[in-house]
Symmetry: C2
Subunit: 227 residues, 2 copies
């Protein structure tokens, strides 16, 4: 089996609160940290800019940005089914799926991270998935993460360890973890607002969830909101 | 758990002999078959044309062609390391890896196939990997395939079954399986030659391996070779 460096970690950064907290967690735990973001034509490019900024703040050895827009745009429901209209009547479509839903999203993200780790000899991968907040997504569950970990190791005969430090934390607990780690100010460079606004709108469901977490934690959100 | 159709299968087609044999195998075993090829800027575009041709010959319900060149070009050793020259001296590079090597290649291929299956409700995925011929690649082993199968199911809470009918067959046995299935003439639309030649060169390592398989099976290769 190929050896990897157990003191090094690659952190998956989305530009949001959760992955920023993971970055702080990894900074404390590992000697050398790297970061990676995925450009899949997300609505708000500011997320990628913040990810890069956080990587610098954390003193990451290197920040990677992988472009996977072409990939993801081909495997959505709309792309696969609309291009094959003749087949549409033969299938019972799951109407509950949004048009842009990409199944196996976390599997792709974490495998891409593992591809980087493979070449650089990095053992640890840190991701911000949480079973608590996203119980609707099966690929946020701990059983999935454990299974993928084994699959990645078998695929290349190398040693990896996927860490999901927020797996069982609520939003409030995540914020309190960041406080304990001492990097609350990093939240200034995280984006949550669905509307893509800076100052954030404060009214969309994402902003509301974020504000609720800070309120419950008894901490002031360092980003600005519209008056 | 999401239901999938147990009589339907998606066959991964590379345009080579092995996947052509898998297609014939799937045609006998399942009521409806679909096929998918991956365009990753491979050297010989004829492979993709043959894959499409074979899909038609087999009467596939639908042929998918996914473009993943952008993805793969970013996660090779040369792309990741050359763009970060400052890091090069810090890493012990594995010189045995070819510059174009993509770790987790089969993981990406099979997960992409599963993405299609997810939307179409297809239960079965058929791949031409073989532990016998490719013992150097860990992602051709049966343990990897089984582990990935479990991971895919956990990722989307859906039911899949990955079949690798050639797992323990030699080249000779694969050809004899095709004979038994009654589709030997399909081999006319398969490509093996490294040089990309039609008629095939007959001298490159790939051609030699192919010819050896036919010779051992006592069957004439239906493709033409240079005189």
């Amino acid at each position: 089996m190929r050896q990897t460096n157990r003191d090094w970690a690659l952190v998956c950064l989305s530009g949001g609160q959760d992955s920023a907290t993971c970055l702080a967690w990894a900074k404390k735990k590992f000697k050398k940290i790297f970061s990676v973001s995925f450009d899949y034509n997300q609505r708000h490019i500011i997320e990628l800019e913040y990810a890069k900024k956080l990587s610098e703040l954390a003193g990451c050895e290197q920040h990677f940005e992988l472009k996977i827009g072409e990939l993801f745009s081909q495997i959505t429901k709309s792309a696969l089914l609309d291009s094959n209209k003749s087949l549409l009547d033969k299938f019972e479509l799951d109407d509950s799926l949004p048009a842009s839903f990409v199944p196996f999203r976390n599997l792709y993200f974490i495998t891409l991270a593992a591809s980087i780790c493979y070449f650089y000899g990095i053992k640890n991968i840190v991701v911000g998935v949480s079973q608590t907040d996203f119980s609707g997504y099966p690929d946020c569950r701990n059983t999935f993460i454990k299974s993928l970990n084994a699959t990645l190791e078998l695929a290349v005969d190398s040693s990896f360890e996927i860490y999901a430090p927020l797996m069982y934390l609520s939003k409030k607990e995540t914020i309190l973890l960041m406080k304990k780690l001492g990097y609350l100010e990093w939240y200034k460079y995280t984006h949550t607002c669905y509307e893509g606004k800076r100052p954030a709108c404060g009214r969309c469901p994402a902003c509301k969830l974020r504000l609720k977490g800070f309120e419950e934690a008894g901490i002031k959100d360092p980003i600005e909101y519209e008056k």
